[in-house]
Assembly symmetry: C2
Homo-oligomer: 338 residues x 2
């Protein structure tokens, strides 16, 4: 007896019928009498033959699965976005597979290849690196939505907040509170969201004649632990400190605040902080971050909507949705007093 896997040919041969008869019987299609259908199903059951439905889907040319690539599963902003997008796509009959790229471009490219090979229905990119990825996107003939990232010459559907404006707003808020020396903690260099926030910050400094000091610029990988260790550096290594910091995301800010407090700095009395994202935790008493909301709910809804639109009609005109950021003032910023 054959050990393990039977093919549809084996089933057909055992019953002395054609492969297409077996297939029709299994799939419940017409053209097979009840008696024969039962005979086929009984045999299939008995020998444990499993129809290769993936191969079938591949040959039919689609699967109800949308791949979603994000940079770091531990970032609550990404987690919220992913959760919301999945919830909407699920309602419309699509499953979501999540890939965590760790901001590694090679891994991202591997995932893009898998997306093609598996013949997934669509692709949502919450993180996207530089040109190498862009080239692949152009050649992928499936629905794609780019979220929170800009690629230089990508013209398909995308959803983002106006990150330049967000960076600018952060400085404006601090300026109204009379701060003059304002530092910045950037995100990974490959993140366009981070780069644009930084550009907005620089532009605002320039427009209002505030000094820019390279020593006040730090870099984070967006993680809480990194915020803590940057605070050590900030408190111990700077001869003069700025009176305010703009920080690329809430998690880094939460860690940074903690490290500052650990080293005797009071927030906001000694240092004002504005960050970005407005994740759940930023509203909690004892944290109460002044932060710039990216409207994760709206962002998720637009992303899901654009994906569903393309899934329905591949030829539709691409849209770029740009959401306005909103400043949420809580307790980490206060008037600068000399």
């Amino acid at each position: 007896m054959k050990n393990g896997k039977y093919s549809i040919s084996d089933v057909a041969e055992m019953l002395g019928v054609s492969k297409s008869t077996v297939s029709r019987a299994i799939n419940g299609n017409s053209g097979v009498g009840e008696e024969l259908r039962k005979k086929v199903l009984d045999l299939v059951e008995e020998i444990g033959y499993k129809p290769n439905t993936i191969a079938q889907s591949l040959s039919r040319g689609h699967m109800n699965i949308v791949a979603l690539i994000l940079g770091d599963i531990r970032n609550p902003f990404y987690a919220d976005l992913t959760f919301n997008i999945q919830r909407i796509l699920n309602k419309h009959g699509y499953m979501v597979m999540v890939f965590n790229s760790e901001y590694d471009v090679r891994r991202e490219i591997e995932f893009l290849k898998l997306t093609l090979q598996f013949n997934f229905a669509g692709l949502i990119l919450i993180t996207a690196q530089a040109e190498s990825v862009e080239g692949m996107l152009h050649s992928m003939n499936i629905p794609i939505v780019l979220v929170n990232r800009i690629l230089p010459s990508y013209e398909g559907d995308s959803v983002l907040t106006d990150n330049f404006r967000a960076g600018y707003m952060a400085v404006m808020h601090l300026l109204e509170l009379k701060h003059k020396h304002i530092g910045f903690i950037k995100g990974p260099g490959i993140s366009s969201a981070s780069t644009q926030r930084f550009d907005g910050y620089r532009q605002a400094l320039q427009n209002f004649g505030l000094p820019f000091n390279e020593e006040y610029v730090f870099a984070s990988d967006l993680k809480l632990e990194t915020g803590i260790s940057l605070a050590q550096k900030f408190v111990k290594e700077l001869k003069e400190r700025p009176s305010a910091m703009v920080i690329v995301n809430d998690m880094t800010a939460v860690g940074f605040m903690d490290g500052c407090k650990e080293n005797g700095l009071r927030i906001p009395e000694d240092l004002s902080i504005v960050s970005f994202d407005n994740v759940d935790i930023s509203a909690i008493k004892g944290i109460e971050l002044t932060t710039i909301s990216q409207h994760v709910d709206e962002m998720s809804e637009h992303t899901a909507r654009l994906m569903l639109k393309q899934l329905k009609n591949k030829e539709c005109k691409p849209e770029r949705v740009i959401l306005e950021p909103t400043l949420v003032v809580r307790n980490t910023t206060s008037l600068y007093e000399e």
Copy 2:
């Protein structure tokens, strides 16, 4: 001209060579002269033929992908666990695909089916529901590791903390601080981790002759928002309040504390809180949760190790790793004073 997809047969026919020659040329195997190889590759390039590597992997019977199913991507305990597991498996050449079940058993079963159909190399289940899933696991002939969950008659590899002991420890700590009236916020009923923590709590109450009051028991879906809304109920609807609460996870505890403070309760002066997980955020000043660590790093390492062991040798003896929980005392518990 053919529109779209070419098969390897088409390529072979166009060049008047055999399919295996085309295959050898594409895969860089020997037995094909340089000139012919170039001819094949040029044609392949020209017509846009893509070898169906997934179909190849399926027929070879394996793919270097491990599926990982979790309950809620927004829970930082799961996110940390997933991130760490992925990092180790990546080093050994495996990719990880993440599925977010939203604790929905139907979705979990869909994911299990996909895992089989896609012929993934292995499966890590960070959440697993009741019997319906258990039946499927028994019939899946691939490496499986069950994490942080117990299924009644599942005997394969699994990694968990001793959750009964964790629940017991929480009560012991509160008892040492002279608390007598201790409530509990449970997790979803389908979570064995939650159920066992609750059982440990009840056993400790019983062993030390403390009263159990059904009114002091609440249920959470493990989310921060839910903690906030439970606090409203706790403060406004209870005639008499317990002096301490044991809370199924840190995120619910963070929300619950926030809601309590919002309603004028001081933590720990008016209410002591012990939770479970010890996620990053629980150590932050202003939160400083007394919590029971599940040792997420060790948990991830054991999970990855067991998966790799099975991937190497399917027939190895199953292991059940049970980690000892550790109490981390911070600032949400204090001596009960009448």
